[in-house]
């Protein structure tokens, strides 16, 4: 009887009638729902951090980062944000120029007041290094998106501003200051249609001409 029941269960679970048809737009419905959940979660985290800020008088730059981090992530730090091009050592904003220059992912494109380098997956002036301030810009590959808000190339400016109400738009550039040491920001250059053309991480207050577009 046991063997027979085992067999019957296996047979039942292999039955093609278990298959269910999906609506043609099912994947789109789910992707949209996932975006909605992500936004809701970020909003809740923001409210919580603000409550602490008002109630306890603590600095967002010190506490907000860990409160706003994704719950299951390793504890975020306020250290410079490391970025790794697959197969190469990490780069991080503020990393000393000499250490950054040794990274074989970098190819020198031009020298201004700062040095500019391309990356294997990012052509042009992907990385800026200031002799004084160290790494001042890291541009993410075109396929990359911001870790929690999923903003990337092609995202409309309105979405960026929706995710980051504190963002500042000047002409064809949106910048968002973020907590951390050293001070840094996201920079989202926009095209004529108002869509993001790149995601950059930039040091605030460096001497590099980072500009817009």
């Amino acid at each position: 009887m046991t063997v027979e029941l085992d067999d019957r269960l296996r047979e039942l679970f292999a039955d093609e009638r278990l298959d269910l048809p999906a609506r043609p737009d099912a994947a789109e419905v789910i992707v949209t729902g996932a975006r909605r959940r992500r936004r809701a979660r970020v909003a809740v985290a923001s409210t919580f951090a603000l409550t602490l800020l008002v109630g306890g008088g603590v600095a967002v730059s010190g506490v907000g980062g860990s409160l706003l981090g994704e719950p299951a992530s390793p504890a975020p730090s306020t250290a410079p944000l490391p970025v790794r091009t697959s197969g190469y050592p990490v780069l991080r904003l503020g990393m000393p120029a000499q250490e950054a220059r040794a990274n074989p992912a970098l190819t020198l494109t031009r020298i201004d007041t700062c040095e500019f380098y391309s990356l294997p997956d990012v052509p042009g002036d992907a990385v800026a290094i200031s002799p004084r301030y160290g790494v001042a810009r890291i541009t993410r590959p075109a396929t990359s998106v911001t870790p929690t808000s999923l903003l990337g190339v092609g995202t409309p400016a309105g979405k960026v501003l929706e995710h980051y109400p504190e963002a500042v738009r000047r002409d064809d550039l949106i910048t968002v200051r973020l907590p951390g040491t050293p001070e840094w920001r996201y920079a989202f250059p926009l095209d004529d249609a108002g869509e993001v053309t790149a995601v950059r991480l930039e040091l605030v207050g460096s001497d590099c001409p980072l500009g817009g577009g």
Binding site: M1, L5, R8, L9, L12, F13, L18, D19, L20, P21, A22, R23, A26, A27, E28, V29, I30, V31, G33, A34, R35, R36, R37, R38, A45, S46, A49, L50, G64, G65, L68, G69, E70, A72, S73, A75, P76, S77, T78, L81, P82, V83, R84, V90, D121, R140, P141, T143, S144, V145, P147, T148, S149, L150, G152, P165, E166, L178, P179, G180
Partner: protein, 172 residues
């Protein structure tokens, strides 16, 4: 402030947004089928799959960065979500009223199968153990790890489930 400082930002090599959509499209048939086995009806299966995938999608880049295999993660989440949801509903006595966002047809083609009917009498955790064992082919240890319970509990839940199924089939 809405900032997040990842410990390390590794380029996944693909567009995470497009990739999640692709993952959903590719995995929907198998997850709907699995959800059907877990819940016992198309309506709850569609709702379970939608809920779990939306949550997974909201954390997609983090999960990829941490090296999770999305399909295995989704299946594990479904088994656990199914059990938790049943507990919650039972506690709050809620009448389920979920939109059928996925399944086109609410018709259950297994409706008249005696064993399928008998499975309906199992509490969700017992049913999950049976599904993980006979649908997924997992060992007791693997089932224990998936559901976060002890191997002893897996064994006892399985014994009870099989006894109930046998009884129902004999009665039927």
């Amino acid at each position: 402030m809405t900032a997040v400082l990842p410990v390390e930002w590794v380029d996944p090599g693909v567009d995470a947004r497009a990739d999640f959509g692709e993952f959903v499209r590719a995995s929907l048939p198998t997850l709907l089928r699995y959800g059907h086995a877990l819940t016992g009806n198309p309506h709850d299966a569609a709702d379970l799959v939608q809920t779990v995938l939306e949550k997974l999608g909201a954390r997609w880049s983090t999960l990829l960065r941490k090296g999770f295999e999305p399909l295995a993660y989704a299946r594990r989440s479904m088994a656990n979500a199914h059990i938790s949801r049943w507990r919650r509903r039972s506690r709050e006595k809620l009448v389920a009223d979920f939109p059928d966002a996925i399944a086109e047809s609410g018709v259950d083609r297994l409706e008249h199968e005696p064993l399928w009917q008998a499975l309906r009498d199992l509490p969700p955790r017992q049913r999950a153990v049976v599904v993980l064992r006979f649908y997924e082919g997992l060992s007791e240890l693997e089932i224990a790890a998936t559901l976060g319970i002890s191997p002893g509990t897996v064994k006892s839940q399985n014994s009870r489930a099989m006894a109930t199924l046998r009884k129902r089939l004999e009665e039927g």
